[in-house]
């Protein structure tokens, strides 16, 4: 009887250790598989598309004079989300990108500001950041405000500028 107990204990202890190890491994999630990544990406792109539409005037509350973000910022050019938070002169403080968007919405567009945490604002941010993908993050710098972006994403016919001084001739 005693011998049997020892044997049982000897078996039980490694089993407990194995269980503990297994439990520890289970606490870290598995790497995202392709299906999961595709799902995440689809959600992001859905938001990018919403942002694209908002950028071009799909929310009438954002403008009372017909102007949309895209009037002055084609391909989100000169919106530079990667440089925010940044000092903005007319507000005399460092602001986040969404606050700058709301300044444009309320002033040049004479519209109603979006809530910073709203889906619409996140969508606009997703669209603008998507186009600025790959550019260095430089918060606080106004120096990058004129930096143009080559558009590899988004809609539009292919962008193949041939450079200055010559063309397709």
């Amino acid at each position: 009887m005693k011998a049997t107990f020892k044997r049982t204990l000897a078996i039980a202890i490694p089993a407990a250790i194995t269980a503990a190890l297994a439990s520890g491994a289970a606490q870290a999630r598995d790497p995202f598989d392709k299906e999961a990544l595709d799902k995440q990406n689809a959600q992001l792109l859905e938001l990018v598309e919403l942002g694209y539409n908002l950028w071009h005037g799909s929310n009438p509350e954002m403008s009372s004079n017909g102007l949309a973000c895209g009037n002055c910022h084609p391909d989100a050019g000169a919106s530079n989300p990667q440089t925010f938070p940044k000092y903005i002169q007319n507000m005399n403080r460092v602001v986040q990108w969404g606050e700058m968007v709301n300044w444009c919405v309320q002033n040049p567009q004479a519209g109603k500001a979006l809530a910073l945490e709203s889906k619409d604002m996140t969508a606009m941010y997703a669209y603008a950041m998507n186009l600025h993908r790959g550019l260095p993050i430089q918060p606080g710098l106004a120096a990058q405000q004129t930096k143009p972006i080559p558009v590899k994403y988004g809609k539009g016919f292919p962008s193949k500028p041939s450079g200055i001084g010559f063309d397709t001739k």
């Binding site: 391909d75 507000m91 143009p148 558009v151 450079g163 200055i164």
Partner: protein
């Protein structure tokens, strides 16, 4: 000119008492007017000057800020010390191509106290394929001689039919063309008919006749994605390659722009509506690139582009920003 100094000085001005009111009621963010003086002493050309206003993008409704910006440009031209012989309007009077917008533009431009010639932009055209525009302003292709210079106007915003197969309404067609980075309309140009017209128009001119062309878009391949191009620009340049002095002036890009391709000197003008960012291509003449207008300052980015053509044929484009070139509207405000 020390642009940085000008900018500093102007920014200092904004800190002075009283200006904030003026900024709040300012006419706009980017007024574009430029004039060109042409002089070749000893030759048949007489010195003269003309002015250009372009891209007002008027919306429907009353008392829109873009109305005031166009009115301001008209007032500025009327107040030029040396009166222009004529004024060119470079296209995009309207934003959405509707008759009321075009009529509003015509009413404002009628206040010019000098002759007006016009070419269309894509925003004027695609509701009724130029019907209202032609009814108000006449032909979209023309030429005339003035003091020894041959001036040519052409419609450079024509695209192949994309709407019939898609069964688009006139309004949908216009909306597709309104967006600068829109994918649907594709690349535009003047088309075969105008190329044939151009060949005939210049056939009998001698090579020493100065040529100035007006098109909405540049006649070189600047940034096709935003239609900063004219697809048959190379053919136009080929037809005009025999001329010793060929200047192309265009709107559409909403920024000062300068380039030389072959015998062509190309000059782009600012708009009276809004500034567009420079696209991601390198400019051969970085000195001509204006600063991006500060969105926090409604008068930032206003200015006048002067282009002088000297006797030797050299051209100098200079952008005069900020305080020096404030419009009459703002100058009055600054004095008050």
């Amino acid at each position: 000119m020390d642009h940085k100094k000008d900018r500093r000085e102007f920014l200092q001005l904004t800190g002075k008492a009283g200006l904030s009111t003026i900024v709040g009621s300012a006419a706009g963010i980017n007024l574009g007017v430029f004039d060109l003086a042409h002089a070749q002493p000893g030759k048949k050309v007489s010195p003269f000057r003309f002015a250009m206003i372009t891209d007002s993008h008027l919306y429907s409704g009353e008392d829109h800020k873009f109305d005031r910006q166009l009115e301001d440009a008209v007032e500025q031209v009327n107040n030029m010390e040396v009166k222009p012989d004529f004024v060119l309007y470079g296209g995009d009077i309207a934003q959405n191509g509707t008759e009321d917008q075009l009529a509003k533009g015509k009413k404002i431009l009628s206040k010019l106290d000098t002759k007006l010639v016009l070419i269309p932009g894509e925003h004027d055209w695609y509701v009724d394929m130029g019907g209202a525009w032609k009814g108000m302003f006449g032909q979209d292709t023309w030429s005339f001689d003035h003091k020894g210079v041959h001036f040519i106007g052409m419609n450079s915003i024509l695209v192949p039919d994309f709407w019939t197969a898609k069964q688009m309404s006139p309004r949908e067609r216009m909306a597709a063309m309104e967006m600068l980075e829109g994918p649907i309309g594709g690349l535009w140009g003047v088309g075969e008919k105008q190329l044939e017209w151009l060949k005939k128009d210049v056939a009998k001119l001698s090579p020493d006749t100065p040529i100035v062309t007006f098109t909405h878009s540049p006649l070189w391949d600047y940034y096709p994605r935003w239609n900063f191009q004219t697809v048959d620009g190379p053919q136009i340049r080929e037809i005009l390659s025999k001329f010793e002095n060929f200047t192309s002036i265009h709107g559409h890009v909403h920024q000062t722009l300068y380039n030389k391709v072959g015998n062509m000197t190309s000059i782009g003008a600012m708009s009276t509506s809004w500034p567009w960012p420079y696209p991601p291509v390198k400019l051969a003449y970085p000195g001509s690139q204006m600063n991006r207008a500060d969105p926090g300052n409604e008068v930032d980015g206003m200015g006048t582009l002067s282009v002088s053509v000297k006797a030797g044929g050299d051209k100098l484009a200079e952008y005069q920003p900020f305080a020096e070139s404030l419009t009459p509207f703002l100058k009055k405000g600054l004095k008050a």
